[in-house]
Amino acid sequence: MSARTASKAGSDGWFITALLAPAAITIFLVVLVPLGYALRDSLYRINISMLYQGEKFLGLGNYVQALKDPDFYNSLVVTTVITVLGVAVELVLGLMLALLLNRPLESVHFRGKRVFRTLVILPVILPPVVVGLMWRFIFQYSGVINFLLISMGLHSVDWTTQYTGVITIITTVVWQNVPFSFLLILAGLQSVPPDLIESSMVDGASGRQRLFHIYLPLIKPIIFLILTIRTMDAFRTFDEAFILTGGGPGRSTETVSLFIYRNSFSFFDVGYGSALSILLLLLLMVITVFYMRLIYAGRGAK
């Protein structure tokens, strides 16, 4: 097909241009130009509360400042903790639920299937800000979580401290995203050929053996996929931290995105904020490449 289309490329030229140009120009203007600006602004000192002072060229000054900034490292640690714990719990819960419900969902017909699907999708599509408000209500000092703790004979916990605040954020993120892992893993499990399962049963394989030798290897690509997508998203966490803790107390629950937002719009240092967002972008690229290599290394070994 490529040979055929290639030979006709000349006559297709106007057609391709006409259909592609509007989108290409728009993406250039609204994505690439701003990114170019971010790159440029990252080399300047720009204070948006004192724009009359003009911009001052710093070279790599903002980047040097970032690499020396303990608050930046702090936000990296906070974000990494949220990402690693959050995504791990999401994956494990999603996998458990999918394994638990896969066979029954396939073999048993029940009426509420549609309703069930609707409910499962819900958290993924609700606005994160409002979900954050909801969990803030649940986690507040006189809220439901503490009531449950007390009724189990435990003490009330302040869910907004240095350590518990991170737990609050992770819980919110996990609640919102478990269904995503669940739905994708379920789709993966349901694409496992039934003959394979039947024959393993005939051979007397235990449930555990089936899990590790049939299901997991077959859905490995999907697990990596979820890992990649969710790591990218979790590393950019902003809304939940903004609403639940505001990064506090102090900076103890401040994610990278929140840190960048504060530098840019609370301290008005947009040049520094631009440098930080370029660094975040680079970091995300490194993580993606790392995952890609893992995925392709896995494929090569087969």
Partner: protein
Amino acid sequence: MTIRPAITLRQGGRLLVLYIGLILLVLIILGPILWLLINSFKTNVDALSVPPKLIFKPLFSNYPKVIIRNPDFLKDLMNSIVTMVLSTGVVLVLGMPAAYVLARFRFVGSVILSFVILATRMVPRVAIGIPTYLIMMRIGVLDTYFAVIVSFVAYNLPFGIWLLMGFVQMIPRELEEAAIIDGASKIQAFLRMIVPLVLPGLVAVGILVMIVCWREFFLPLILTSHNAKTISVLAGTFMTEYGIDWGQLSAFSIITFLPVIAIAVYAQKYLISGLTMGAVKE
């Protein structure tokens, strides 16, 4: 005859596991939302009482308070709807032809373009938001629909194109070839053949983009202040501006959930096809 009871027993076991699992899942997912719904009919005092009150005198004034007495609510709701609809329109109208060309033709730069489109998914909101803020400030259009829509399109157009490419690829190439042999021009084949066939995909992508816009917080937070403020930004300022009235806040939250719940109920098929296409294509 001997196998029969074994099967029913196994089926019974499965049914039990299924229902236990389902009930657990539904409780975890629905519990918080139901709790919010219950509290949206409480006074602030009732909402804060320990132990939580399950039996109380329902209060119906939270909803009207949030909707009517809050001067920003209707305006911000309107802003959210307008920016969401226009952004989605732009994404579909620009994205569909581009997706078709990228999915069907090989040409100089097509690989690079596809890569750029995929790579923009990694770009954090801050990296687009901050320079967009500066550009909008310099041309004096901060706090307008224009600024919000530009940022929404920036965030959704590449992803939309990429999803639509997947839907185009599912259509057999022979169909257009047959149409062209029958004397249709390429543009006719695209408009009369492809677009109608991709319609379910267009709906799926449209719904997904609308949801992303409805959920979006960071971009309108920095790009708007009053006139073009969206409902999510209002949510973000809810606590500081009004003090914390948890009853009203619950009512407000339930209202912002409603459109999304409606989509999940009425357009579930499209929603799932959009979500899975988005993930599987990567």
